[in-house]
Amino acid sequence: MAGGGDLKLLGVWTSPYVIRVRVALNLKSLPYEYVEENLGSKSALLLASNPVHKTVPVLLHGGRPVNESQVILQYIDEVYASNGPSVLPADPYECAAARFWAAYVDDKVGAAWQGMLFTCRTEEERAAAVARAVAALQTLEGALEECSKGKAFFGGDAIGFVDVVLGGYLGWFGAVDKMIGRRVIDPAKTPLLARWEERFRAAEAAKGVVPDDADKMLEFLPTLLALSAPKSK
């Protein structure tokens, strides 16, 4: 049974790390209070809840904080085990594979994402970061084939750990696509991932949470850039 206590999520609507947690909460049909943080003026609650990194997402369960998006995902799985399917597989080996690929996503795709939006100073640097993302996505294309075993998602029939972790980046990829005039997830290079993206975006749990308005994100980008704040994880 789900433990008593309210759920509150501190986040920023564009953050891939926040988005993935929201998708996971939706998958379990868990009600929660969402608090949009202003990274330029972080709330006392955020600073008190995550003193080490001072970043979003922060999940507060009965007032007690859980930090780091992948840690939060596992927490949700464990506490709300009876609220529907878990994102992490039950089998230890498959679980290890999911954790491995999730770590790979944040390591390679995450670093490239930072580069293509926040740390690049020229269009050349942006292009180089996009190339790094594309290379990582190429590896993930193979991983998708392996993990999905012909099914819709990394997690099989249902959205799983790697799906939500990677899915968090889709909002920004849409914005970058608009900036550079071509797709980061290129159907010619990574056809499985391109179809995966469509399915993920169409999923109920992603609705209203994975941004689909590239213009709105691009409008918000200067605000984020001005902050030069440590990035969310």
Partner: protein, 342 residues
Amino acid sequence: MAAVEWSSTRRAFEVAWLALVALLVAAVLDDELTRERTGEMRGVLVVSVAVDDTRDSRSGVKFDVNLDLSGMVDIVSDQNTLCLAYKAEPSSAASVHTVLHSVIHTQKERKKELQRMVAGEEKGLVLLDFWVSPFAQRCRIALAEKGLACESVEQELLGEKGELLLRSNPVHKKVPVLLHAGRAVCESLVILEYIEDAFPEVAPRLLSADPLARAHARFWADYVDKTVYGIGTRLWKLKGEGRAAARAEMLETLRTLDGELGGKAFFGGEAFGFVDVALIPLTSWFYSYEEHGGFSVQEEFPRLAEWARRCGERESVAKILTRPEDVLDFIGLLKKCYGIVE
């Protein structure tokens, strides 16, 4: 390693015979015969020939045979050295040949074993390892704490990587890799979680059953992963401002860890657990960080230093951790590889 001094023409003949044998050994093992010293690095097996020659000590030809066997041979003596001591007799060359022959035989057996591992036929636990890797040591400590038998297979990382490693970890080509019944698990923290999951009845548990405690443990293990080793590497690799910045970050990191530990015996409380396993192998590197950064963990963070000593009392930790001096030597070796002059 001992040099051999030969003092007569007869000896010279035996030198030639030994050289031939060594070449044969090398050919069979498919290993490179190197004449350069590889230093005191553990994991590098040196076959050296010692002659107890009481008759004539006038120097003749100095002869060393160094073979890099990458830890694949059973260790005969304590210092990873196969020492062949024999009397200076006409049959001595033959006795050397006999011993080397058994080395070859063992090597062939090991090769067959590795081939079975590559083919996924090995049933037990195997860890692809590197002697100084703190990440591999996390896995070995966890397995040792749980009494789970695991074979450690030392990998060649500074030269050409072996087939088993490349097949088991094609994405990163790094150690550690845990092979369980031939299936590969990569990334040390993923391996730690796997060990917990795959052997649910085996004590001690390194992660609490309570989800919030688990979340805290995962958070801090992740923090350790994001900070210590990366900052430490910059500390010894860089100079000037780069080193100064790394020093400041290292102190900040250790301060944060010391604060999180607080007055507790271990990071999770009373029992040795996940975060302790994640951090303790890195404490072998503290000495090197102190040397490069000019600070003392004992002075600045006595609670953390005490925690390290407390962990070091555990049999698993005491046996598995690299000696701090050996880590410093290894860093010296890396600096040479990178062309860094202190």
